[in-house]
């Protein structure tokens, strides 16, 4: 990406909006974009200072009484407010009535072609545990496929589903699935070639209907689909609402900014649904880890939460942690920076134990403070 393409995202970043990784990467290295970000932040601060100086209206005691309102009919009000000749209005009314049937037909066609989202549920043997995938079902190449991975105790299941075609409510799906025994802890990097050699299962699925596919070494997987009546905020977590529930702590695609400079930018999400001390651990190569918890703990400083933004100051630096969804209903968090933390020394799972890349997890504070941290 170049500066011109990133421009609009700089403004969005000021507002705590999610920005593409490519844009964040460019901003992390481009002096001009960083100075643009600085300028926008300064303008915002100056505007708020100006608003404070601008003086507010002294509130007088208002007396809200039950007043009888003289009611005027809507047709009379409209007639009085009409600013065009009455004849022209009448002609317009006739034209609207004459065209309306045609308009209704056009709208119906447009609605049928509009983007729809298909939610698929995979029931995995032997427990019947459900995996969920959401994708567009209107033939659009964007989000028209879904990659699903299940790290089991004994192996790794990879699934790639694509909508090939739709006819009415019926969708033709292409599913490629592969089970790798003994590879439950293996890290998966999705690439176009990952599923290339896996044979394709073609399914015709109607909403509410159950279908089955066989995966060698794994067993039968039951597939069921429904169309959604809304676009979920996160395609890979369709059950998530935009606002967190009282026990949730959610980190989705975090970007950590220090003194207006991006120092970490990650994809994906990590969510805790019920711990009493949910905590984010964000590891940045060369920096150590940041612990951000909803409960106070030793050595931590207080930060402020506003929707998807957390602001805090540490060691003379101003930090901003941005995520693409509201994080928690708490208004405060406590943050600690541990510079000597290395995943290779503390993380149990081999794919987590790498010191050369950004990594984050949401777990209970107690778990993250253990000497050996499970995934």
């Amino acid at each position: 990406m170049n500066c011109e393409q990133v421009d609009e995202y700089i403004s969005a970043l000021c507002d705590g909006e999610r920005i593409p990784s490519a844009a964040a990467e460019h901003m992390g290295t481009c002096q001009r974009c960083q100075s643009e970000l600085n300028a926008y932040v300064t303008i915002g601060a100056e505007l708020r200072r100006f608003a404070n100086l601008d003086g507010s209206l002294p509130l007088e005691r208002a007396d809200w009484k039950l007043e009888s309102v003289k009611k005027t009919g809507w047709w009379r009000r409209g007639f009085m407010m009409m600013r065009i000749p009455k004849l022209a209005f009448a002609a317009m009314l006739i034209a609207i009535v004459a065209l309306s049937s045609g308009l209704v037909m056009l709208r119906a066609r447009a609605a049928a072609a509009a983007g729809r989202f298909l939610e698929l549920e995979y029931k995995l043997p032997p427990s019947g545990k459900a995996g969920i995938c959401v994708m567009r079902a209107d033939g659009s190449p964007k989000d028209n496929l879904c990659n699903f991975v299940n790290h089991g105790r004994e192996g790794l299941l990879l699934m790639n589903t694509r909508v090939v075609a739709t006819s009415g409510d019926r969708a033709q799906l292409s599913i490629r699935a592969k089970y790798i025994a003994g590879a439950g802890d293996t890290e998966v990097n999705y690439t176009e070639t990952l599923f290339k050699d896996i044979p394709e299962n073609l399914l015709l699925l109607e909403p509410g209907e159950k279908q089955e596919i066989q995966v060698v070494g794994f067993g039968p997987i039951e597939v069921e689909g429904e169309y959604l009546d809304h676009i979920p905020p996160l395609l890979w977590l369709p059950q998530e609402a935009l606002d967190p529930n009282p026990k949730e702590f959610r980190i989705v695609a975090p970007v950590l900014v220090r003194d207006n400079r991006v120092i970490a930018n990650a994809n994906g999400s990590s969510i805790d649904h019920g711990a009493s001390d949910p905590t984010l651990m964000l590891y940045v190569p060369g920096e150590g880890r940041y612990l951000v918890s909803v409960v106070p703990f030793e050595g931590a400083v207080e930060g402020t939460v506003h929707l998807g933004r957390i602001t805090f100051s540490l060691d003379g630096h101003d930090y901003l942690l941005l995520t693409s969804m509201p994080i928690t209903i708490s208004e405060h968090v406590w943050v600690k920076h541990e510079t000597d933390f290395k995943p290779s020394e503390r993380m149990v799972r081999p794919s987590d134990a790498r010191d050369d890349r950004v990594m984050y997890l949401v777990r209970s504070l107690e778990t993250l403070q253990r000497q050996r941290i499970p995934h």
Partner: protein, 175 residues
């Protein structure tokens, strides 16, 4: 008390509930309208009219579509647009005496902000000063969130340019 409950009480003509809403929103709405209308008296009148009209006919807010605060600012914005329409063409936005202020209250940023279009002033003020989310801005302005993002970007860019220009002229005058 959440918006739904507060609105139900206002619909039942509970004056104390409405007074609470008025106290919470009036200062912000007045500040916002001052920036839109550039006229303190008009801003006060429009803000009062907005609240009076909601009190008389509390039937326009749908809690499922957004917050009560966004609804009130949206109503204020529409009344401000109506106020502009009623002005005679020759009535340019001449700031009144109270609006011009003194050297202490005037600022470069304030002057620069006044040179933005009404749409840009609206989106910038509500975002930066009132802290509105994109969803709330979309509701107040009646546009999709993507449009809010691009309008905010355009407003920031324009304000930055105007501000830097006026800062440059001030410096050259001082020399």
């Amino acid at each position: 008390m959440d918006d739904r409950e507060l609105w139900e009480r206002i619909r039942r003509k509970d004056a104390s509930a409405f007074d609470a809403l008025y106290r919470a929103c009036m200062p912000g709405l007045h500040g916002f309208l001052r920036q839109l209308l550039r006229n303190g008296q008009a801003a006060e009148d429009v803000a009062q009219e907005t609240f009076a009209s909601i009190w008389q006919r509390p039937n326009g807010f749908d809690p499922g579509r957004g917050t009560l605060r966004a609804y009130i600012f949206g109503a204020g914005r529409k009344r401000a647009a109506e106020w502009w329409r009623k002005q005679k063409p020759e009535a340019e936005p001449v700031p009144d005496a109270a609006e011009e202020g003194t050297a202490e209250t005037q600022s470069l940023i304030g002057n620069a902000f006044g040179k933005l279009s009404i749409e840009q002033r609206t989106v910038m003020w509500l975002r930066e000063v009132e802290g509105y989310s994109y969803a709330e801005l979309a509701e107040v302005m009646g546009v999709p969130e993507g449009t809010v993002r691009s309008r905010l970007f355009a407003a920031r860019k324009a304000l930055k340019e105007i501000w830097h220009e006026s800062d440059k002229s001030r410096r050259s005058r001082e020399l």
